[in-house]
Subunit: 405 residues, 2 copies
C-alpha cells in the first residue's frame, strides 16, 4: 500500500563505510536479520534517539558511546530488546563485546541497535553466531541489502543518496531507514543511518544531525506514538580529500547541509509513505504562526485527529473537522476570523467558516489525489512548520488489532 514509493534509487557507496548482512534466525529461519556497518578509523558519529522515557537497552548503550570513537554499528531485527530491564542492558553490551572481540576494537567502539518485539529476551547466542557471516559480507556496495536487512513490517526498503562537487572532489551522502507504524504493536520502530565521506568535526556533526532530524524524522507522524527504540545516526568517515568542516558556515558546509537534509527528508518521508495501512501521503503546512510551537501544535492536532484521518481515507473534503482541530489545538487567543484553510490550491475555509467561493466538487477533486496538502494560514505572525502524515484506514485497524493473532 506504499504511497508513491518505488524501488530503491541508486545508493552511491560512501568511501570508508561498509555494510554486511547475515541471518541469525531470530524470528524466522533464513531471514537476514543482522546488519553490521563498519566505519573507517577516524570516522565521527552523531545521533538523535527517542525521547520516550521507556527507552530500549540498546538506545541507552548507544547514547553512552556515540560521541566516542565508533567503528561498528550492530543492528538486529525481530527483537527490540525493550522492556527487558537490567538483563537487556547486559545483553546489548554482550553482543557488542562479542563483535569487538572478533574485530579487535574496543567494545565501546560498537553501537547496538535493535528493532522488533518488545519484552522478550534478546537471543544473544543467535546474534553472536551470525556476526562472522555479516563481517564476511561487508562491502561499500551493500546499501540496498542493508536497507532490506533492517526492515521489519515495512513493505518496501527505503533509501536515498545525493552527491555534490566541491573543489573538484565528489562528496556523497547516502542513507537508509525503516519504519512502518511509529510503533508497531510490539515493534519498536524507527531507525535511520545516513553516512557521508565528508570530514566533519564532532560538534558540527551533532548540530547537523539534530537540525536535519528536526526537519525530517521529527516532523513525521503516523499515529502519534513515539517508539522506545527510535534512533537516527549520521556518520562522517572523513575519506573525501577535503578540509575538515569545523564550523557551521561556508560553501562546503552549505552544500553538505543541503545534501544531508535532502537524504534525511527522503528517507523520513518514505517511512510515512509506507505507513501502516496508508493510502494517502499528507502534508500539513501551518503558516502565519506567532511562534514555531503554536504552528506545530496546530499541525499535530490536525495530523492526529482520527476524524480528519478517516475523512482523508474516505477522500471526504470535510472542512468542518479541520476547523474544529485547529480550534482545539490550544493556541492562546486564537482569532478564528483570521484563519484560512486550503486543501491543495483550493481555499475551503476562511474567516472561521466555509469559504464563499468553495464548492464540494473542488474539494473532492483534491481529496481524490494520493498526495494531499492541507495548508492552514493562522494570520498571527511569520512562523511556519510542515509535517507529514497518513490517513487512518480499515487496514491500520486490521494490522494493529490482529498483529499478534
Amino acid at each position: 500500500m506504499a504511497v508513491g514509493l518505488g524501488p530503491l534509487p541508486t545508493l552511491h557507496p560512501v568511501p570508508g563505510f561498509e555494510l554486511g548482512i547475515a541471518s541469525a534466525g531470530i524470528k524466522r529461519p533464513g531471514r537476514k536479520d543482522v546488519v553490521i556497518m563498519r566505519c573507517a578509523e577516524g570516522s565521527r558519529v552523531a545521533g538523535v534517539t527517542t525521547t520516550n522515557a521507556f527507552c530500549a537497552a540498546p538506545v541507552i548503550v548507544t547514547r553512552e558511546r556515540m560521541h566516542g570513537l565508533v567503528r561498528y554499528l550492530l543492528t538486529n531485527t525481530g527483537n527490540a530488546n525493550a522492556g527487558t530491564g537490567p538483563q537487556g542492558l547486559a545483553d546489548a553490551r554482550h553482543t557488542c563485546a562479542a563483535l569487538a572481540a572478533i574485530t579487535g576494537v574496543d567494545e565501546t567502539a560498537v553501537l547496538p541497535f535493535s528493532t522488533g518485539v518488545i519484552g522478550e529476551p534478546l537471543p544473544v547466542q543467535k546474534i553472536e553466531a551470525a556476526l562472522q557471516a555479516a563481517l564476511d559480507d561487508l562491502s561499500p556496495d551493500h546499501w540496498a541489502e542493508a536497507a532490506t536487512g533492517i526492515m521489519t513490517t515495512d513493505t518496501l526498503p527505503k533509501g536515498a543518496s545525493r552527491q555534490f562537487q566541491h573543489d573538484g572532489v565528489t562528496v556523497t551522502v547516502t542513507g537508509i531507514s525503516k519504519g512502518a507504524g511509529m510503533i508497531r504493536p510490539n515493534m519498536a520502530t524507527m531507525l535511520g543511518y545516513i553516512a557521508t565521506d565528508a570530514k566533519v568535526a564532532g560538534s558540527v556533526l551533532q548540530d547537523l544531525v539534530r537540525d536535519a532530524a528536526n526537519k525530517s524524522f521529527n516532523r513525521i507522524t503516523i499515529d502519534g506514538d513515539t517508539s522506545t527504540n527510535d534512533c537516527c545516526m549520521l556518520i562522517a568517515t572523513g575519506q573525501a580529500a577535503l578540509p575538515e568542516i569545523t564550523e557551521a558556515t561556508g560553501e562546503l558546509f552549505g552544500k553538505l547541509r543541503q545534501a544531508v537534509l535532502d537524504v534525511f527528508m527522503e528517507v523520513a518521508q518514505a517511512i510515512v509513505r509506507d505507513g501502516e495501512g496508508a493510502t494517502k501521503f499528507v502534508t500539513v503546512q501551518v503558516n502565519g504562526g506567532g511562534n514555531h510551537q503554536e504552528c506545530l501544535d496546530v499541525a499535530y492536532a490536525v495530523a492526529h485527529s482520527p476524524l480528519i484521518k478517516t475523512a482523508l481515507f474516505a477522500s471526504d473534503p470535510n472542512w468542518g473537522r479541520i476547523l474544529a482541530a485547529v480550534g482545539y489545538a490550544g493556541v492562546p487567543n486564537l482569532d478564528v476570523s483570521k484563519i484560512d484553510v486550503f486543501l491543495g490550491e483550493v481555499c475551503i475555509a476562511s474567516q472561521g467558516g466555509r469559504s464563499p467561493s468553495y464548492t464540494e466538487e473542488q474539494g473532492a477533486a483534491v481529496m481524490a489525489r494520493e498526495e494531499i496538502t492541507i495548508r492552514i494560514e493562522l494570520g498571527r505572525g511569520d512562523c511556519s512548520e510542515t509535517i507529514w502524515t497518513t490517513d487512518l484506514s480499515h487496514e491500520y485497524v486490521k494490522i494493529n488489532a490482529e498483529y499478534r493473532t
Copy 2:
C-alpha cells in the same frame, strides 16, 4: 454496540422544570428535532461550554446569557449552526427571540443549543414553525422524550436520576445527555442538561457545575477531538421547600453535590458506552502522580494511543504499548523503574518491564471483558486521576469514513 448501556432508568420529574419536543423536519421529515425546556421563574442556571476556539454560534449566545434570568432552553438537532459566521449568530438570536415573543419573556431569557451538521445555515423558519408544538408538549414527565429528542447518531437515549431526603423534603436531580463520537464527522456533539429542584445561589451553582463537569464530562474521551458545540448545563429551580444553598458547605450541600456528581457521571459515562464503534468501556486510572496534570497527561496518552485502542478492540493484553505510551506522555524525569501497570487486578508490568508473575493467560482473561480498567502506578506522589474511553474498532473507521457517503 453500546457497552453496558440499557434502557433509560426511571427519570424522576424535577418540580419547576418541564420539557417538550416537536418535529421541525430539519434533516428528516417527522424526526422530533426540537426540544424546549422551561424553568420556573426564579431558577438559576450555570454551565460549562466547549474550549474549542471555533465555538458554534449558539454557544456564544448561551455564554452571554446563562448567568442572567433564564426561562427557556431551546435545542435543535440536525444542524450545529457552527462555522456559520455572523449569519449563524443572527440566526441563533432570531430563534430565541421568536420563542420569547410567543411566551412573553425577555429574549435574553432564552438559551440556544444546536447539534448536527457543521457549516450549513440554520433552518430558522422550520425551527420557529415548530416552537408552538414543542410548547404545547411541555410536561415535567417528558424527560425520556427529551433524551430521545436531543439524540443525533447516538444509538440509545441517555439519562440518570437521583433523589435524596433532607429535613423530610425530597430533592431530585435528573439529567440527560447526548454524544456519540466526541465530534461526529460533521456532527458537533456533546450536550448535557441536568436539573434539580434545590435552591442554589448562582456562584455556588457555577462552581458545582464546573466541579462536576471536570470529574465527568471533562474526563471522557473517545477520539481526542473536542467539539465546537459542547455544552453542559445545570439548572436549579428552587422549588424544593428548603433554604437556599449559599455556600459550598453543610449537610444539604454535601447531599446535593453527591447526587449531582452521580448524575453527571452516569450520563457522561453513557456517552462513552455509546461511543462510535465502541466494543469496550475502558477506565484509565493513574495513581501516585506528583501532580494532577501529570496524571492526566499519562491517562490521555494511554486513552488516545491508537495502538492501545486497537489492542483493546482485539482483546490483546499488549503491555508494551501501554508502557510506551506512559513513556512518551511527557512527564519530566520519569523514573520507569518505579512504575507498575495493572490490567484489572493483574499486574502486567513492573519496574519498567514485564511483571515476573505475569502470564499471557491472565492478561487475556481481563481483556476478554467488556469493561476493562487500566491502572498505572507512577510512584511519584499522592495525586490520582481517572478518565474513561473506548477502543478503536473497524466500525469507528467505517462510521467516520463513510458518514457523508
